[in-house]
Amino acid sequence: MTRDYPVSSIRLPHDLPLDSGQVLSDAEIAYESYGVLNEARDNAILICHALTGDQFVASEHPVTGKPGWWDRMVGPGKPVDTDRFHVICANVIGSCLGSTGPASMASDGQPYAMRFPVITIRDMVRGLVGLLDELAIERLHCVIGGSMGGMQALSLAANFPERAGRVLAIATTARHSAQNIAFHEVGRQAIMADPAWSNGDYYASETSPDAGLAVARMAAHITYLSEDGLTEKFGRRFQDRPDGAPGAKSFGFDADFQVESYLRYQGSGFTRRFDANSYLYITRAMDYFDLAEEHGGKLAQAFGGSEARFCIVSFDTDWLYPTAESRHIVHALNAAGAAVSFVELSAPFGHDSFLLDVPALDRVVAGFLSQ
């Protein structure tokens, strides 16, 4: 995967210490920003992206040409109002949209590939805090994230409590469950089973493990949707033939069903914009995430030092990070005496609800940011 589009980025002037004990030198953090930073430098909002997200939260994606992934939420007059706030969104380390990751060049001029150190959610946050240091932003008005972005928001609150006045964590968890890890392992095995993966050393080769990465994405994509959502969208409907003939059973293994066709499309589209090794590293970081474990086994201790206001939002159809996980976080925040709001919103789209049209979420986000 080569990058042939410009990104704005900052190179951190210091080594990044990692949870593994290794360090990441010359780390580059690619980011986008919107709205004006005020003179007091206290109107900044950091948005943390999800597993396969990127810094293009409200601007056109340079590869796909699609609008920003949270375009509906971020912009002038929108819930995260860029007329009021200076919004920053950075690509996490380990990813592949301009921040240092496995596809980046190591000091020997060769891509890191599997020599890239295994990172954690906290390591990603260290990179983000490094960026804030370089941007001379001491304290964020708010850190916001959904899914893996929510993990980063919680991790920032726990490990750098002085850096954010508000923490908004949506459709997320404080720890990856066995089921979460299991789904990720399916994805990783799909990638590593692709002969083109070549132990991660495919950057100079003609082929890359697109087939494996597409399967990984297909499996993961199912976990982002609800059963009712899939049924409503596709049911058992057949896909029309390429020649326009109405769909029917082919008694073969083409994409007979619309849902198959949809997943194949999602999978192959994904390989155009994402690096397979990044997928391995970032899913690993999520699997290692257990905020309580980092803080003596007690989640409440993770938030002991926090003066921040918290808002935790879950969705009733999200079975990837179900409401019980959010309640677990709320329980800990209450025990720590933190100011916390929590609401389970009703939306039909499963885990992906946080990215989609849920007007109640817009109201909650706008209200929480304005307080």
């Binding site: 209450n334 100011a339 389970e344 109201r363 909650v364």
Partner: protein, 197 residues
């Protein structure tokens, strides 16, 4: 300050000390919390079971948790709050006696307001009409109401005695009108008690 508040909430808002930490259980649209925050500098938190109410509160910048008071009060450590408020929610509790214990565990003091089932209108509806009362204070039919434990002023006093609660104050209302304590069990539609242990 509290001209728009329901009368029971208005006396509670009046009685709460400025700057206190308050948990309003069953906070609904957050009217009390908002008043306390805006006019008394109170660290005001809420809990409500209804997601839409909670979303509305958060949209107003209030710290409110969606939860079931029968279950989720255990999240809070002892004496986390100066005051725990339970307004018009007691009859919906699975076990009002245990709820009272929880109120005075998470709060050093508590305010409890409830509709008085011994109000003369209620008595009349049952005695003369022979039907479950549907009144101004209890507007829903027996099959619609979420109240599962109707309570009277005298019953509540008895419960506080059994629990060893100290009654710091009580207020009685008929509609918007404030009443004296005389024959409150017959005359009051609503009661508010200020309790401590």
């Amino acid at each position: 300050m509290s001209q728009h508040l329901r009368p029971d909430l208005a006396v509670i808002a009046e009685a709460i000390a400025p700057g206190a930490r308050v948990l309003d259980i069953g906070c609904g649209d957050g009217a009390l919390l908002k008043t306390l925050r805006d006019s008394k500098g109170v660290d005001a938190r809420g809990m409500d079971i209804d997601a839409e109410q909670v979303a509305g509160c958060v949209a107003h910048g209030l710290s409110v948790v969606q939860g079931d008071a029968n279950r989720d009060l255990t999240d809070y450590p002892d004496a986390s709050f100066d005051y725990a408020v339970l307004s018009q929610t007691l009859p919906m509790a699975k076990r009002p006696d245990l709820m009272l214990d929880e109120l005075l565990r998470v709060g050093r003091e508590a305010f409890v307001s409830f509709p008085n089932f011994a109000h003369w209108r209620t008595r009349a509806a049952l005695l003369l009409g022979g039907r479950m009362p549907v009144t101004r204070a209890l507007p829903l039919t027996w099959y619609e109401t979420r109240n599962i434990h109707h309570v009277t002023v005298d019953d509540f006093r008895e419960l506080t005695r059994l629990k060893g609660c100290d009654i710091r104050g009580c207020w009685f209302f008929a509609g918007e009108r404030s009443l004296s304590a005389t024959a409150a069990n017959l005359r009051a539609e609503f009661a508010v008690f200020h309790l401590a242990r």
